[in-house]
Amino acid sequence: MSRSLILGACLSSLVLLAAAVSFVWTPYDYTALNIPDKLQPPNAQHWFGTDHFGRDMFSMIMVGARTSIAVALVAVGIGMALGVPLGLTAAARKGSALDELIMRGNDLVFAFPSLVIAILITAVFGAGAINAIIAIGIFNIPVFARITRGAALSLWEREFILAARVSGKGAARISAEHILPNVANLLIVQGTIQFSLGILAEAGLSYVGLGAQPPTPSWGRMLADAQTMVSFAPHLALIPGLAIIVTVLGLNLLGDGLRDWLDPRIRVART
């Protein structure tokens, strides 16, 4: 196992742990306002300090991790659930009208700058976590469709697939039983990358006020709220900023590490 895999796994699981623990325990109630205690720098009672309403930043970061992870995870889920079958179908029917339709549809979605369309979707249908999930999820579909199709195409030329066809299996069954398991590692790696992009997109949307609405904490909104206070309470911006960095860095390192680790060719070369 590479060092980047270990570091990535550590950072990612730290964030996941914080999010998981926040369901049962946070140091303080993250919605409880305590205005006399506002803008405290990090100290023994409030490890990450307090925000402009006197809410405990540590609790907010924990619950914010939950928001970010939930949005990004479901968005990646949408992308995989729709993108992978589309990619498998396109590969199985290579060159057909259906293949063309799927891939050109992908191009269409790709052609739009994703964050701008996400802003459009949330502006039209209203701001909120659900719409943010949908907006980010839609742009994950073509990513997974393409990766799946590309990998599947080369698999379709292989002898073991030929053998399966000769033995009478249909395209759908071959896709599910032989193609999918062989592209799974690619999908996992891409999944972690998309996951980190999803975290960034969620932060971006909530920064402009289109993500999860208050009082649900969100890292992006914490950053936006901190903007005018950076000069006298830098922890307000630094802490959510660091949280985003740690998460995205962790997931990227994890993705890199997983790719090397899961790739059979590299593994063979190493041993």
């Binding site: 306002l33 402009h52 309403f53 006197g54 701001a127 009082p215 206070m229 000069s231």
Partner: protein
Amino acid sequence: MTKQTFRSFASVLAVSASLFGTQVFAKSDITIALQLEPPHLDPTSAAAQAIDSVVYTNIFEGLTRFMGDGSVVPGLAEGWEISDDGKVYTFKLHDGVTFHDGTTMDAEDVKFSLDRARSEDSANAQKALFAGIENIEVVDPLTVKVTLSEPNGNFLFNLAWGDAVIVAPESIEGIKTNPVGTGAFTFGEWVQGDSITLNRNPEYWGDRPALETATFKFISDPTAAFAAMMAEDIDVFDNFPAPENLPQFEADPRFQVLVGSTEGETILSTNNKMPPFDDIQVRQALAHAIDRQAIIDGAMFGYGTPIGTHFAPHNPAYVDLTGNSAYDPQKAAKMLADAGYADGFETTLHLPPPSYARRGGEIVAAQLAEVGITANIVNVEWAQWLESVFKGKDFGLTIVSHTEPMDIGIYARPDYYFQYDSTDFQALMDTLNSTTDPEERTRLLGEAQRLIADDYVNGYLFQLAKLGVAKAGVRGLWENAPTAAIDLTQISWSE
């Protein structure tokens, strides 16, 4: 260095110092930042405060005018006589006043302006100001006689509004983009989205202002406002959007901070027609669930005065009714239970962009949650707010600051967006409007304040503070805002 070169070097230094010096001492230009850009520049056909900020007393003048302390003094009218029955006002106009296009300002222009404002198809945003006028008569070029249908003790106050300024029929066509008035400053240039420039009017009838040019810049983003001020790109910020930054300006000798009051009653507006808010018990519970001081401290960093009714605390007729809706969450929860909402209920809380609303809304939502009311926050832009809340009345709760002076009369309009329909209050307003006796008016205003407080029409939060930031050398700025205005004629540099 030889003596020769030293001497020439010294003289260069001296010259550049004197050049620099004259520049500093004769500083006659100023850059003023506003949060919002005016939609156009006609104060007589729109309610937008930003228009008045730019043009009031600078470009356009009325018969009377507001001073920074809220008093009403003569403007274009040098004096007036009021008949014994209080119905006929005879205004004597200043002689030799010309509009910026060279045409003279006389009684005909006054009649034209007031008739235009009160006409059937008038686009004036405050038509009620002129409602009592029965007839306007030109006696001679410098005398106008205005006859009212009922005595109106507020008439001179009404004429001081930006909506009542004197315009000319010759230049009315292009007033929205090329305003022509009688004021001490003429319209220069408007770079859309960026700035408006005004220049000193050399023909001005009154005292010559110290400033030669003034530039209004539009900066709504609080972060950009802070950066622009710190970089000294602007000299004055009329109403600074981020109260949290004021201590930094106060600590910095380069700046002065002017904390005053505005006419802005910041309220938790309640849709009185939408269940469960049609039940007075629910509205009362709402009022008791709110901790005003926490909102002022949390959203405005301590700037603002708690109010218990829709009236400005600096007004002599103000009655402090904050005790009527004191913070008492237990009582609020009990009242909700009595009203049949023991488990609370769910509603929406629409929040426009200013920080008093966005931050105040988060605090209000948290306070309502304490008594079991779930207020779902919906952040909206101003355009959306006007469309869905103000016009569409599709809201449960919203937070907004009503910045018009003396606007308690909006409670007499059942179709106004919070839809308070009380015949008692409407009758009271009718009586008030036909009363001229100052003491009786004060008593009636007090009664009106009590009535809307006892009916818990809205949650009354606080009077919005005016948070001006300026460079230390600027003199003559208004501390308070009796109306939206930046009176350039009084502004000068002290250095």
